[in-house]
């Protein structure tokens, strides 16, 4: 039975503290309520960063297992949501680096462009180009762009999650935008 969950599905701040204490004491229904309140966001972060449905579910599982095992260490200095997102980001970024070494479908943007042009059968869609260009960004830069521009996190939140200064987060997003413009410019010119 779920308890102390607001109608929107998000536990309120006051209720959340109770849920955390109960879950830390081994109350699985309280843990389930915390899970329900945050699973969608955690899964979305994981999927946006790794781009693989199965892996995103595995990462979501890892995030919550780690959180529940360490609930007694949560001091409440930041909100529980911030803690959850920080762990989700860290777990996802760590996994991405490991997975990337084994993944063959992730190709660099140059390789992707070459393949599509040589193939000649598929007219590359600009959306696909943009997505491929985002995929081809270096991990740290892509993470900042995805978290800020696509997921709507503030630079301060990204800074805390990635362990970088707020200004560094801004610089990475700026860098990402510059790289995207450079990568996509030839295609825009071609279309024109």
């Amino acid at each position: 039975m779920l308890k102390a969950v607001a109608p929107s599905g998000m536990a309120t701040e006051r209720d959340e503290r109770t849920l955390i204490a109960e879950a830390a004491a081994g109350d699985r229904s309280a843990a389930r309520a915390l899970y329900d309140a945050h699973v969608e966001r955690v899964h979305r972060i994981a999927y946006r960063l790794c781009g693989d449905a199965d892996l995103a579910e595995d990462l979501t599982q890892d995030v919550f297992v780690q959180l529940f095992r360490r609930l007694d260490q949560f001091r409440g200095e930041s909100s529980f949501g911030t803690w959850v997102h920080r762990v989700a980001l860290t777990v996802s970024l760590n996994a991405m680096r490991k997975v990337k070494r084994f993944r063959t479908r992730e190709t660099g943007i140059d390789e992707a462009l070459h393949h599509e042009q040589a193939n000649g059968e598929i007219e590359p869609d600009f959306r696909d180009r943009l997505n491929a260009a985002i995929d081809a960004l270096p991990d740290g830069i892509r993470a900042a762009l995805v978290m800020h521009t696509i997921e709507g996190y503030s630079h301060a939140e990204i800074g805390e999650a990635l362990g970088i200064a707020e200004g560094t987060s801004k610089a990475r997003v700026f860098d990402a935008r510059a790289r995207l413009k450079k990568t996509l410019a030839p295609f825009l010119n071609e279309r024109a």
């Binding site: 081994g26 699985r28 995103a56 260490q73 760590n94 680096r97 270096p138 970088i164």
Partner: protein, 211 residues
């Protein structure tokens, strides 16, 4: 392409870039429930490989120190009484781009390995965390400087430096209040990315001119 056009594209990306499928909420919960609450030790169980990891790193760090000393001994560099070898000979096969940064890179790798070994000892007191964080912040600065230097354009060393940057950034923000969780995540990441073996390999390559 101007910023306005890019903003339009990124607006579209919010709706279309890696749109997550509906997660299997119940199935994921079942696995979490089984692993976090039903497994022996329950929600407070510690991963069993954690202690193994700490021991592994201490051994790896010791091997690293041994490897560096052995490399210097065989090349005649840095040991009392040894004849100084001609640096040009020692680094003859090293990329010219890396030569000016060799000493800094070696120092960074060595100090980072020692730092990671210290992390593996599981000490999360306030003074320890503060000391480690300060040291990591200094090393992070060096790693970023190398990444921005011509040495950072060497593919072999760049990949390692990028991993070190992320790891050191995590260590630099380590706080005693949440040290246990953060430390666990860092330790897992270091193990998963084979960072210590890669540092050891890089040091050997640098000493022997592999890059």
């Amino acid at each position: 392409m101007d910023d306005k056009r890019l903003d339009e594209l990124l607006d579209d990306a919010r709706k279309t870039y890696r749109v997550p499928p509906e997660p299997a909420v119940e199935a994921i919960w079942q696995r979490i429930d089984a692993e976090a609450f039903l497994a022996p030790g329950g929600a407070t169980r510690r991963p069993t490989d954690r202690r193994f990891g700490a021991v592994t790193w201490r051994v790896a760090a010791a091997s690293l120190v041994f490897g560096v000393l052995a490399g210097r001994w065989t090349s005649g560099v840095g040991l009392p009484g040894a004849t100084e070898a001609d640096p040009a000979q020692v680094t003859s096969s090293m990329s010219p781009v890396l030569r000016p940064y060799q000493k800094t890179t070696e120092e960074l790798l060595g100090k980072t390995a020692v730092l990671l070994a210290a992390l593996g000892t599981d000490r999360t007191s306030a003074s320890f965390s503060s000391h480690v964080s300060d040291q990591a912040a200094q090393l992070l600065g060096t790693a970023r400087m190398l990444l921005d230097s011509p040495a950072g354009s060497e593919p072999g060393i760049r990949a390692l430096l990028l991993d070190l940057e992320l790891t050191l950034a995590q260590v630099a923000r380590l706080q005693p209040s949440r040290g246990e969780t953060e430390l666990m995540l860092i330790n897992e990441a270091v193990a998963e990315r084979d960072i210590v073996p890669r540092i050891r390999s890089a040091v050997v390559d640098l000493s022997g001119g592999g890059y």
